[in-house]
Amino acid sequence: MAWRGPHYISRNDRQLPMDMAYLQHAGSAFASIFVVATCTMRTMIPLRVFGILTNVILIAVSIPTHNYPTMALHAVLLPLNAYRLHQMLQLVRDVKKSVNSDLSMEWLKPFMTERRCEAGEALFYKDEKAEDMFYIVSGRYRLVESGIELPVGAIVGELGMLSPSNERTQTLECIEAGTVLSVSYSQVEELYVQNPEFGFFFLRLASARLFENIHTLEQRLAKNSGTAVPADQLA
């Protein structure tokens, strides 16, 4: 029997070769499985990974079937998903690094918003409900009740997020105009919920900073009284 050329089926007023139509159906069905799987993910990293896989499959299917709007949509979503995944993995790496080194909170900087402060402005008041943490970039800031001046690079209010009373213990006032970065507790909570690995290391970091504070206090106490209590006994 002589070959009569490819079979065609009608779709959207266009004629597609039969093989292409099968490919499109199979590809769409395969991609649908990934779309469903993406939606079932509870945390951010697997969600992004499945999102990327879905994007790749749909781009791969849409090229031979000339489905350009779908291809364009997923060509936009693919780098977006990849960037967010990179951001999340970077965050976990930075928190882990911080736990094992200087206990700094610099890793939070990409998630913070810049805020300009004028001299005399209070960033927060004593007994107020704590809702944000701050990173001091420039200017001079003083804790009003204790009179302590905070250095540039200091993080303020990171433990308030985990404290049961959730209230400020002092007032922070700007005494020379400058800039701070701020992030709300709800934003950190979002990161915590979206990424359990980050949450685990964040807790370790917060605990380590708390122990460091106890250690500093213990040293001051030892200086003043000449006797020291070991940190593990205080904990």
Partner: protein
């Protein structure tokens, strides 16, 4: 984002007709004399915003329970003035109050016409929209213009309109105005706290400064500006140790007696005189 989610949740809860928010809890150890005032405040604030907001009021009152230098009379004043400030008058509140007015056949209904400043109306919007609009209004120099608003509970349409305006209270906590009021209340409470620590004899005068801020529109703005002038010029420098005033309470009273003018020049002059006298004396 969290604020928007809670506002959407509160709106849906209201539409579904039930509110499962926990009832506010008065602070332990609150003196009996203050309890009555505080309960009245809680009732007003539940009507004004909701139980969560009334709980914030209770948390703020808790700061003064058992505090040295706070007797029952002073505590009652703090509770009363805190209620007044936390239920500030914005167009939403005026719609709420108008809606609550009884409509009786024997009395002719009154249509209220209130004048608000343009920036006051814009500041009732959520910050994300309100901030750029306020900036634009400032650029074209129209922020001080006043706009008349009618509040009428006459007829079906009038009550529907009031109901719609009053329902916007669920979004109030996201507004520019709320943030401004929150900062003001916290600053006032902070000044009371510092007065109790540094100059207990002046605490009552600092508490009473809250009466400078009342109502809405231009009068409200002038009162607010004058309050900041007095606190920045007299109270704060005394608490910081930068100014030695033998009688801070009297200085505040004298500054408050100065008639308010739009630019605050008379008050600025009066404060400068008080400071100069304190330095020379």
């Amino acid at each position: 984002m969290a604020g928007f989610i809670s506002a959407i949740r509160a709106t849906l809860t209201e539409l579904m007709g039930h509110d499962d928010a926990a009832a506010p809890c008065l602070p332990r150890g609150l003196p009996d004399a203050v309890r009555t005032v505080a309960l009245h405040g809680v009732a007003i604030l539940i009507d004004y915003q909701g139980p969560g907001y009334a709980q914030l009021y209770c948390d703020r009152l808790r700061r003064f329970v058992g505090r040295h230098g706070v007797d029952d009379a002073l505590f009652c004043e703090i509770a009363r003035l805190l209620t007044a400030r936390m239920s500030y008058h914005d167009p939403i509140r005026i719609a709420q109050l108008k809606l609550a007015e009884p409509v009786t056949a024997s009395r002719a209904p009154v249509v209220d016409v209130r004048r608000f400043r343009a920036d006051e109306l814009i500041s009732a919007l959520p910050e994300i929209v309100g901030d750029p609009l306020l900036w634009a209004l400032e650029c074209v120099g129209c922020s001080h213009r006043t706009i008349a608003m009618r509040f009428s509970n006459v007829g079906w349409w009038g009550r529907r309109r009031l109901g719609l305006e009053a329902s916007l209270r669920r979004w109030r906590l996201l507004s520019v105005r709320y943030e401004m009021e929150r900062r003001w209340v916290e600053r006032w409470l902070h000044m009371i706290d510092r007065a109790l620590t540094k100059r207990p004899e002046a605490a009552a005068a600092v508490v009473q400064t809250a009466t400078m801020i009342e109502g809405y529109g231009t009068g409200y703005r002038h009162g607010l500006a004058a309050w900041h002038q007095i606190i920045d010029g007299l109270a704060k420098p005394v608490f910081d140790g930068a100014l030695q005033l033998p009688d801070l309470a009297d200085a505040i009273r004298r500054a408050r007696a100065v008639p308010l003018d739009p630019k605050g020049d008379q008050l600025r002059k009066a404060i400068a005189e008080i400071r100069a006298r304190a330095r020379s004396g």
